[in-house]
């Protein structure tokens, strides 16, 4: 999937390197690296981080508008607790990319590890490759777009916002969702507890396509149609009935 899409990555979303400067991550401890990113950000510069070497906790807690570009893979919790950033990752990410994102955008050119966009509250994360297990776990807002496939427990305990998966999703999709929508272009492995599928309405389809086009997805790679996974809301009320008693109830 990524190979096919690689040429199509929107230019506008990547940091224009020429106007900024670069930091070589290999020469710095994570603490110093994050401090230098922050000090560059406060001067309004575009920053390229060279040799991130899949290290953890890079660019966490940045609450200013800024542009960052990682020239390689990043580890766990990259761009966690950020507000207003625009980040591009040229490789893969580990677990929890964009954890608790408030606003801004994160673009990852290859695969995201498990729990991408965990608890995100706003902004947008775009994964050009595949996502691991529990994508969008406990999401509370914003949009998570996955151009490839998404793994096990996609949208687990999601509370608001939307996940758009252009490929397929794995087993237990939408398990224990409260609110929010998971749009799926490909196959659904299986539905999770209290999740149900609906077909997207015409106006939703139009809106979705317009949104994806704005992200520079070509028409021919968009799925023919989207199905959506939402909460069946049967878990909203608990009762103390035995399974047999519940079967006899007419709802």
């Amino acid at each position: 999937m990524t190979e096919r899409l690689a040429g199509n990555v929107p230019k506008a979303l990547s940091a224009p390197v020429s106007q900024g400067y670069s930091i070589d991550a290999r020469k710095l401890t994570t603490r110093l690296l994050n401090a230098s990113i922050k000090s560059g950000v406060s001067k309004g510069r575009y920053i390229t981080i060279l040799n991130p070497d899949a290290r953890h906790n890079l660019a966490v807690g940045i609450v200013k508008r800024c542009s960052l570009s990682f020239a390689g893979s990043v580890g766990y919790y990259c761009c966690a607790f950020c507000d207003g950033i625009s980040a591009t990752i040229e490789g893969n990410s580990g677990w929890g990319l964009g954890d608790n994102l408030m606003s801004g955008s994160i673009v990852i050119r290859e695969d995201a590890g498990a729990s991408v966009g965990a608890s995100m509250r706003g902004g947008q994360i775009l994964v050009w490759g595949n996502a691991g297990a529990r994508a969008g776990i406990s999401m509370k807002g914003g949009t998570l777009v996955i151009a490839g496939n998404s793994g096990f427990l996609t949208g687990f305990m999601m509370q608001r916002g939307r996940i758009i998966v252009m490929g397929g999703v794995g087993d237990a999709a939408g398990d224990s969702m409260y609110e929010g929508i998971v749009y799926v272009g490909g196959e659904i492995g299986s539905l999770g507890v209290d999740a149900k599928t609906e077909s997207a309405t015409r106006s939703e389809e139009v809106e979705l396509r317009a949104f994806l086009k704005a992200l520079k997805f070509r028409d021919d790679i968009l799925p023919r149609r989207f199905r959506k996974i939402v909460s069946a809301k049967r878990l909203y009320q608990y009762d103390s009935l035995e399974p047999l008693e519940r079967e006899r109830l007419v709802i």
């Binding site: 580890g75 490789g91 590890g113 096990f152």
Partner: protein, 315 residues
Amino acid sequence: MCGIAAILYKTGESTSSQAVGLQLREMLYSMRHRGVDSTGVNIAGQHFGTDYVVRVVVSEDQGASHVIEGVRNAVAALGGSVVFIDDFGRFRRIGLNYSGDLGKLSDSILSVKGAEIHSIGRSSEVIKDVGDAYELDKKHHFSKVNGTHGLGHVRLATESQVDITHSHPFWAYPFPDITVVHNGQLTNYHKLKREFQQRGFRFQTHNDSEVIAVYIADKLSRRRKLGDALEESLDDLDGTFTYVVSTDSGIGMAKDRWSAKPFVILETDEMVGVASEEVALRRIFPDDVRRIEPQEHEVLTWNVSLAPRIKVRLN
């Protein structure tokens, strides 16, 4: 938490003597944040020049020379002969020639008071100690050890004691060359362990991961393929786990149905590297190798080439 890593050269015997030890050291050191209680490796595809190499830890209160003498006698009593003994502080690397039953040999060595076996292998050995990968290397010089494949572990103890005995990799008593590293917790290991004990297996620790080693070795001894044994373990083991097994001919991995523990793979035509985190693999693979992340309930195996093993005897 714990971190696991493994590496395998598919080119096999013909081009053995890859710097597996050195690469494992670098991988494990870069994952030291996942646990520094202990570090251990198993380097396979070595040529020992003897039938077996036994890794033994000797208890200091029994007197090391006394214990070693006991082991020497135990081997001799079964018709075997000790060819060399390398000294690594409390650890001994014993090369011996022996053609009988390995269960008997193990039991006989274990009956020597103050002796504990870390591994018995025809072409592999387990090296483990407390501290990080560089501390381990300082004591055991494993970065100079070459082979065709190997695995390693950094430990953050959750299920049993912080000591050398309870650190990974675990050798599967009494099967040569089968070792396991595990990241996770098993909840049904007491039950499994009891079943194995009733069948005469002997456990050296209270660690849950040792059960996996014995479980896999038991299946392999009954002519199951490694892939099938791993597949069956997904249902028989209860808990969270990602583990890697090393045999004399390759490695295999299994990941639980919850996808609870991290695992990534980087593979080229010549070699494959697997680890809990990409940070470990980027130390040895170039940036353009694509990363694969196995999902839930998944099993994978890799083999060194199937070229016949040429045994080199020095005596």
